[in-house]
């Protein structure tokens, strides 16, 4: 694995090497290396039970580790103090907000814990809760509560923000709003450590992605290059016109084409332009339009499913 290759000149915000965590006999984190650099959004992906939350909670200072080195903002989270906590912001996987307080009261309460807090009003605006600032938290929707949680994570004006599955359970509209908020944080120069199991979330937000499976990091890179995604072949597929045989396709296409169970011909091609040129010539000659022709690239989700061994539709 290539975690050690530096992505920035300065020392990393998070540096983890050989991190291990065991509960009794069971080792849930098996020697992982992670580096997160200043100002980037780092997405930590993995199926449930892969060791994601355990790792995050070690970085946040909630859990002890069994082995390895961990540095977060230059300190070991295991013996971090209030000064260190003032520099990080947290959104935990779940937290019920005090029902008796309003949005503004809660944000102002948290502001009082930090030496140099952001302005409450502006922070509420940043997460889009200005309309709800005088509402009790018991009157907020799930998505609004999560945004309030983000406001509480930001009120101390942290350098590093941990977001543990920040959009789980959101409807698509709320998710896109949350993405805007997170993208805004990057604009503020924050470093963000995000865990998620939504590939579109990682694709949209992350500068760097690492995938953890069964306590080990199995792939790492940018969303575009993860798992060799950029070097993958393109998939061309269409429905074979009536009366045509796979063997009648021109040139090498005949040998590359496979008729699959979905009734469509699929071809994995390194040079989609040339193949399409040959294919369209062949179709025009026959007077066919190939109306359902598609050209696809493997999505981050395809790569992820392959890495995590969760392919639901083996082909």
């Amino acid at each position: 694995m290539t975690a050690a290759s530096p992505r920035g000149g300065e020392s990393p915000v998070i540096a983890v090497s050989g991190l291990r965590k065991s509960y009794g006999e069971h080792e849930v984190v098996r020697g992982i290396d992670v580096e997160v650099h200043h100002g980037e959004i780092f997405a930590f992906l993995g199926p449930n039970g892969a060791g994601k939350t355990t790792t995050v909670e070690i970085l946040e200072g909630y859990r002890s580790r069994s082995g390895g080195e961990v540095r977060v903002l230059g300190a070991d989270p295991a013996d971090a103090d209030g000064g260190w906590r003032a520099r990080i912001g947290l959104v935990l996987q779940s937290c019920t907000m005090p029902a008796e307080l309003t949005v503004r009261e809660l944000v102002e309460l948290y502001a009082g814990y930090y030496p140099h807090p952001r302005e409450a009003k502006e922070t509420i605006e940043l997460v889009g809760l200005t309309d709800k600032r005088d509402a009790r938290t018991s009157q907020l929707s799930g998505g609004q509560l999560r945004r309030l949680d983000v406001a509480l994570a930001l009120i101390g004006d942290p350098e590093l923000v941990f977001l543990d599955e920040p959009t789980t359970g959101f409807d698509p509209g709320a998710r896109h709003h949350a993405w805007e908020v997170i993208a805004n944080l990057r604009g503020l120069g924050k470093t963000i450590f995000l865990t998620t199991h939504y590939m579109d979330e990682a694709q949209t937000l992350a500068d760097h992605v690492a995938v953890i499976v069964a306590g080990e990091i199995v792939a790492e890179g940018t969303p575009a290059t993860l798992g060799g995604r950029d070097r993958e072949l393109s998939d061309i597929s269409f429905t074979l016109p009536a009366g045509a045989a796979v063997a009648s396709l021109p040139g090498e296409l005949a040998s590359l084409a496979r008729l699959r169970e979905d009734g469509r011909v699929h071809m994995s091609i390194g040079d989609p332009a040339g193949a399409l040129h040959a294919l369209s010539g062949w179709a025009l000659e026959r007077g066919e339009g190939l109306g359902d022709l598609t050209v696809g690239r493997p999505t981050l989700e395809d790569i992820y499913l392959r890495l995590t061994g969760e392919q639901e539709h083996p082909q």
Partner: protein, 256 residues
């Protein structure tokens, strides 16, 4: 902000939350007043307490005062601690620079302040409605007993909260403990009507000592009103609670 300013900041918020919570208002504030009025209306005449013949209302005012203190600093506090822990509030706060001592100390202080306010309110109602008075000489003893009792029950509350797994279980678990003790500890029923073996059982627990120490400040005709033996027993429970809590207190929800 200084430590003191952070404490004041947290305390104001915790007090506000207490007051806005309907369960706190009804069970902790209103219920003791209702109990005092009901008991004082149903039962008439006199009783003998600690060797003095006293009006039945002079028995009930300190008794319900004990109930009010325990409601604020034990029943309500324990429910709040368990609920906030299980909601993940403490875990989240542990991720901020707020010192842990202020986090729970401030909420305990709310319990003590409410206990003092409830005692004053019950004293006032006793005086105006039933002409029950505390001698000037024992007034300081009464204040000391209320504050010490509330502080000690807060400490016991921290210890007990660690034994309760979830918020739903908190109210039944606490009430099944305190309600029978109210009956045998001289809170609901004059002690002359309680069999000796039940009184002996009650003596092990702090409720009887608190009720007795409070009652002493109403019935004593001389002395400071400080019941050294009872206060020592209450203090011992408080210290025991604190020691247990220091070893077993949890910040994260169960199963986390």
């Amino acid at each position: 902000m200084s430590r003191r300013a952070v404490f004041a900041h947290q305390f104001r918020s915790d007090l506000e939350r207490f007051w806005r919570n309907p369960q706190s208002r009804y069970f902790t504030v209103l219920m003791p007043i209702v109990f005092l009025v009901i008991f004082a209306t149903i039962f008439k005449g006199t009783t003998i307490a600690d060797g003095h013949r006293i009006k039945i209302t002079t028995f009930y005012v300190p008794g319900i005062m004990a109930l009010g203190i325990i409601s604020a600093s034990f029943v309500n506090l324990t429910q709040t601690i368990v609920t906030q822990r299980e909601n993940g509030e403490y875990k989240r706060l542990r991720g901020t620079p707020l010192p842990a001592g202020i986090m729970i100390g401030s909420r305990a202080a709310v319990g003590v302040v409410v206990a003092v306010a409830m005692s004053a309110l019950l004293l006032l109602i006793g005086k105006l409605a039933y002409d029950v008075r505390v001698p000037q000489s024992t007034m300081l003893g009464l204040v000391v007993t209320v504050v010490l009792g509330a502080a000690a029950f807060s400490c016991v509350s921290f210890a007990v909260s660690t034994r309760i797994a979830n918020a739903e279980a908190a109210a039944p678990a606490i009430n099944i403990t305190v309600l029978p003790l109210y009956f045998i500890s001289g809170v609901f029923v004059p002690e002359t009507q309680i069999p000796r073996f039940l009184r002996d059982i009650a003596t092990v627990f702090p409720i009887r000592h608190l009720a007795k120490a409070l009652r002493g400040t109403f019935v004593q005709t001389h002395g400071s009103g400080i019941a050294t033996g009872d206060l020592a027993a209450i203090l011992a429970w408080g210290i025991l609670g604190l020691l247990v809590a220091a070893r077993t207190f949890e910040w994260s929800p169960r199963g986390d």
